[in-house]
Subunit: 309 residues, 2 copies
C-alpha cells in the first residue's frame, strides 16, 4: 500500500479525508490541514478547518450545516448576545469546549501540532491530522474597498464583497509542518477544497512549495469544480470575480506547476481533451460526496487508479 | 440619606446588597466585593463573588443553588467532560458568556473595575459594584497537609480538609480600590459573609485597613452567625477547626479593631450582654434572608437603626 498525504481545507477536504480514513491503514494516511482561516475570537483560538476535519473524522460533525458539531446548542451565544457581545461567529456550546481546550493547551506552551494530536486522541480520531504549519499564517481577502480577514469575509460578510486578490500574512516566515516528512509519501492528494483560500496557503509554504514543483508526478488534484460549478462555498463566485472561467481547466491551470494528475467528474468530460493538451493525466469518477458510501467510493477510485488496480 | 459602603463576599453579602439596592438611591450605595476567590480556569478569568453579586442584583441568579445563573444549561461542560477536560468547577453555558466577555476585556487592557462596571451596565445593574482592588489578591487555605487555592478548597474538596490558617498572596502589594473614596461614606456595612475568607482579604487591604481602625464608629457588622450556626457555607466549620466558639461573640471579637456596631439575630439574644461588655453597640433584627421581602426588610432595619428612625 502506498503512503498518502492529503492537503485539505474545510468541508470538501474533510469529506474526502473521511473516505480515505475508512480505506487506508492509519500508518498510510496523513492529513495536512489549512490554518490560514484560524483566528482569535473572544480570546479563543479557533481553527475552523482543523475542527471540520476533526469533527468529520470523529463522526461528530453537523452533516446538514457542514460545519460545527452535531446536536449542538447555542446557550452561551444567546447569553453573549443579551450582553451585547460579538455573535457574528456562531459558537455552539459543544464546539466551545474544543476551543477552550485548544486555547488552554496553547497558553500552556503546546504547539498547534501537539494540540491537534491531543484533540484527535480525545475525539478518538486515529488518523494522523496535522496543521499545515505551527507558525501563524493569516489569510486576508482583498476586496474592492478593503482588506478583510478570512472569517470577516466568509462569515460576517457571507462572501459578498467581490474579491480582487488574497494576502497571506506570515506566509514568508512560515514553514510546512516539519512533522510531515514529504519524502515518505508516494502520493499527494490536493483535496476538493477552495484553491485560492484553502489550498494555496498550504502549497505556498516553504518546504512544501519546492517539493511539489520538483515532484509534480506525485501530486493529484481532486477537482472542486463539478459540472462547471463549485459544490460548496465561494469557489466559483471567486473565479468569476477574478475573471477566470469556472471550469476544471481553470483549476488544472491553477495547479499546473504542482500537479500532474487531475480527478474529474463525469459531468466535466468535455474538459478532458483540453486537460490532456495541458499535460495532465486525468481520471474520471463521481466527485459528489453526499453519503458516507460516496466518500469511501471516491477514495477507493482514487487509490485504485493510483495503485494501478 | 446617608452614604453606605457595603463590604461583601458571595451569597450572603449579595442577598443583603440586593436588599440595600432596593431601598437606597444609586448614589447612596457602593458595594465593594471580595476578589480573593478570583482565579483563572481554562484560560478564563472567573470572579465568583463579583458574579454572584452581579447576577443577584440583575435578578439573574439561581436562587436554589445560590450561585450561577437562573435557567442555566451545561452543554459546554458536558462536551468538556467527554474530551477529558477539567470539570470540577461548574461552568454553565450562560455563565460562560460573562467569563468570556470579562476575559476578553481584560486582555484588551481594561482594569477589573472597568470590566465590572461594563458588565453591570450590560446586565442593567444600576448599583455601583466594584472589586475590592484592581490588584490581584489570591486566597489560599492552609490545611493540615497542604496549601489549597480557595476554589480547590471550596469546590474541588467541598470544604472537607480541616483549616489551620489562611494566606492572601499579593495582599501586601494590593491597595483598596481607589475609585472608592472612603471619606464619602457615613456608614460601612460588613455583610454577613465568611469573615475569614470573604471579608478579611478586603479589610486587610492597604487604605481600607487603616481607615477602619481610625473610624470603627462608622463600621457595622451584620453577623454571619445566626443561632450559633453559619447560614450557608463553611464559616461555622472553619470556626470549629480554628478552635473558636461558633457564636456572634466570636464574630464580634474577630472584628473588634474595625467595627463598633453588630447586628444580631433574635435567636442570639443571649449574646447581647457579652457583646456590650466588649464595647459593641447591638441591634437585633431577623437576619435570615430567604425571600426578597426579608432582604429588603433587613436593609430597612439596618438603615432605620443607623439613621435613628
Amino acid at each position: 500500500m502506498k503512503n498518502y498525504l492529503l492537503l485539505c481545507g474545510g468541508v470538501g477536504g474533510a469529506k474526502l479525508a473521511l473516505g480515505f480514513s475508512k480505506i487506508l491503514a492509519e500508518s498510510n494516511l496523513t492529513i495536512a490541514v489549512n490554518t490560514g482561516d484560524d483566528f482569535k475570537h473572544l480570546n479563543l483560538k479557533i481553527c475552523p478547518d482543523l475542527d471540520t476535519v476533526l469533527y468529520t473524522l470523529a463522526n461528530e460533525s453537523d452533516l446538514s450545516k457542514g460545519w460545527g458539531r452535531a446536536d449542538e446548542s447555542w446557550e452561551m451565544l444567546g447569553a453573549l448576545k443579551q450582553l451585547g457581545g460579538e455573535t457574528w461567529f456562531q459558537l455552539g456550546d459543544k464546539d466551545l469546549a474544543t476551543h477552550i481546550i485548544r486555547t488552554q493547551l496553547l497558553a500552556d506552551g503546546a504547539t498547534l501540532s501537539q494540540v491537534t494530536q491531543e484533540l484527535c486522541s480525545r475525539f478518538g480520531v486515529q488518523s494522523k491530522v496535522l496543521p499545515m504549519s505551527d507558525e501563524t499564517v493569516e489569510t486576508y481577502i482583498q476586496t474592492k474597498n478593503r482588506l478583510l480577514s478570512f472569517q470577516e469575509y466568509f462569515v460576517k460578510f457571507q462572501c459578498g464583497p467581490p474579491v480582487t486578490d488574497f494576502v497571506f500574512k506570515g506566509l514568508d516566515k512560515a514553514k510546512f509542518n516539519p512533522l510531515i516528512d514529504l519524502e515518505a509519501f508516494d502520493e499527494i492528494i490536493i483535496c476538493p477544497s477552495n484553491p485560492f483560500v484553502s489550498i494555496n496557503p498550504i502549497i505556498q509554504l516553504e518546504g512544501l512549495n519546492q517539493f511539489l514543483k520538483l515532484h509534480p508526478e506525485r501530486v493529484n488534484v481532486v477537482s472542486p469544480i463539478v459540472n462547471s460549478q463549485s459544490l460548496k462555498g465561494p469557489t466559483s463566485k471567486i473565479m468569476h470575480e477574478l475573471g477566470l472561467e469556472v471550469s476544471v481547466n481553470s483549476i488544472a491551470n491553477f495547479y499546473k506547476d504542482y500537479a500532474s494528475t487531475i480527478f474529474v467528474d463525469e459531468l466535466d468530460n468535455d474538459q478532458l481533451d483540453c486537460l490532456h493538451t495541458s499535460g495532465f493525466k486525468t481520471f474520471t469518477a463521481p466527485l459528489v460526496m453526499k453519503s458516507l458510501q460516496s466518500k469511501i467510493h471516491l477514495a477507493q477510485s482514487i487509490v485504485g487508479f493510483l495503485e494501478g488496480n
